[in-house]
């Protein structure tokens, strides 16, 4: 038996590991909404404008094999030109204002902006700093905010559902 077979055999012997049922249920709901409103695929371009890295870590976690957000029709893309939505994390540091605007401008219409994490709302714990331009909505028109420090994959799915409804 090759090492690859061994891994799969061990996984099957242990039973398939899945995330809580709520995530699965919500995911199915999200899939239907994306199928109806975005022709089955919803492309997101992520930009970090000064976050500590925890939000990105959770967004990446949403794409791991256990959550597998892609199966519901959500994909993270490398280029803003391929994106339906811009997902912004972190308080907007002054150094990132221009880059954020340029990324937004590079996206085709129609486009929307989603902010994720408490910092992105109004600066969070960094509110009032000399180098924070404010929340994402100080720079771009935000359509949806996902709360949390950081938001979990389930929160991400729930927020997307409530928005698409």
């Amino acid at each position: 038996m090759s090492v690859f077979d061994k891994v799969i055999a061990a996984r099957l012997a242990r039973g398939i590991v899945t995330q809580p049922i709520e995530y699965e249920k919500r995911g199915a709901e999200l899939k239907d909404l994306i199928a109806a409103k975005f022709s089955r695929s919803f492309f997101i371009r992520e930009v970090d404008t000064g976050s500590c890295g925890a939000c990105e870590s959770e967004i990446i976690a949403a794409t791991n094999p256990l959550y597998d957000l892609q199966r519901y029709g959500v994909s993270f893309v490398a280029s803003p030109r391929h994106a339906d939505a811009l997902l912004v994390t972190g308080p907007v540091s002054k150094n990132m204002v221009l880059a954020l605007k340029k990324t937004y401008d590079a996206m085709p219409e129609p486009k929307l902006v989603i902010s994720a994490g408490d910092c992105a709302l109004n600066g969070g714990v960094f509110k009032g700093s000399y180098y924070i331009a404010g929340g994402v909505n100080a720079v771009l028109p935000v359509t949806l905010h996902i709360p949390g420090c950081p938001p979990t994959p389930l929160t991400l799915v729930k927020a997307l559902i409530s928005f698409l409804r």
């Binding site: 090759s2 090492v3 690859f4 061994k6 891994v7 061990a10 590991v17 992520e46 930009v47 970090d48 404008t49 000064g50 976050s51 500590c52 890295g53 925890a54 939000c55 990105e56 870590s57 959770e58 967004i59 990446i60 976690a61 791991n64 094999p65 256990l66 959550y67 993270f76 490398a78 280029s79 803003p80 972190g90 308080p91 540091s93 002054k94 150094n95 990132m96 204002v97 221009l98 880059a99 340029k102 990324t103 910092c119 969070g124 714990v125 960094f126 700093s129 000399y130 180098y131 924070i132 420090c149 950081p150 979990t152």
Partner: protein, 513 residues
Amino acid sequence: MEKLLFELTRLGIVPVKLTNENEVYLEVSPVDFKPACLALHKLLRSTVMLMFAEDRRSSEGTFTIRAGFIGTKPRQWYFVEQKVPGPVFGSIAKDIYSANLFEREIKEMFGLEPEGNPDCRRLRLHDEVWPGGYPLRKDFESAVPGPIGNYPFMPVEGEGVFELPVGPVHAGIIGPGHFRFSVAGEPIINLESRLGFTHRGVEKMFEGRDAASAAKLSECVAGDAAFSHSLACCRGVERACGITVPPRGEYLRGIFLELERLYNHVADVGTIALDVGFSFPAAEASVIKENLQALNGELTGSRFLKHVNLPGGVSRDLDQASVKKLLAQTAVAARDFRRLREILYSSVSFLDRVETTGALSKKLAEDLGVIGLAGRASGVKLDLREVFPGVYDGLKVVSREKGDVLARLEVRLDEFEESVRQIERLAARLPEGAVAGDEPLVGSGRALGWAESWRGPVLYWLRFTDGKLARAKIVDPSFHNWIGLNLAALDNIVPDFPVCNKSFNLSYAGNDL
């Protein structure tokens, strides 16, 4: 210590000596600052671990500049400090390279010119954005109007040489940074990274805070090292104010620190594989990481171990059932991880991509002051858990000599195993009692707090005045190591840069502060 004092006296320097526990402060005149730093640098074989200024004009009429070194044998921190009236101070960067970035930082934050430092470009307050004003001065209010400048990259010229700008917005889901490659064909002949895009003014945000809210803010400095940062911050508070942590609290901190190391190491092993296009082990690693983070969530209520540390101890206790779960889950993770390791080593094409790629020699790592995980992969064997063991016992410090991507991968693989072993040890000996002391009384004092995060040493130098922070200097290992990545990538081809970058996996947020 005697040898050191002898050496300084021989140089004609008579320092004023002040001590904390494990901390020695040597106050010297500005003329003696450089020779004293050089003596420490050579005798202790230490890089400049931290160097920072403090605005003491209101109480003493001058700025104070300190350079900190670590003595691994005497298990002490040494600080050389000088009083500088401004506006210039003598640079030591030409003799000790690791002071270079710190001096540039002092220049942009305090407006003190490092005389003799050849590189005076700004680090974080970008020229295109920030007209003027020195944020860390006590009388700073807001930016002062002035002309907006341009950042000069080092020009590389010659036939067929061209520049390849990348970032600050990258293709993946990662932090922002700008990389300027100068290439001739595929090989990289120069690489400059320009960071500071996630600068949030963290050190200024710390000023005026009390101990508890400082600990809370420290968790948002670098998200993937939230526990290490809050641990270093809390230790700084405790040492400055003489607060003792109950033994159970110390042991639990040890366990949580290793849990943070586990999930980060396995994530990096996965992404190194992913960056050379080997996605099967990457998926496997992300499952192990998810399970470990879910465990963190179950044990502490936070997948990133936030809100656990507080000055005086920890806020979460582990009951017997939790300890049992912890041991069972880490054993599962260790088993899965060994299999992951087997998968990686079974692929010759994977090893071919990582072996000899992005090599950083020991000499270069020492000269640049590369520390932590990346340093250990190049043979610089500094681990604060070994220097100041505390609850650790018989820690096996993992190191390699080659300094290539494979070496950094192997350091992670072995440290994972060692962390699991330490968790088992700590859990088995977990003492009974309280997990935190009484509500801390914070008066005035100064001290250094530290933690060996999964990346390397995290340092918090804090000064309290009447229970409020007057100055907090934070150093994340990323600050030392970005330059190491720039030089490790040289002579490699551009497509190998992502895997070099990932093998270092430095924090943007921790560096930019």
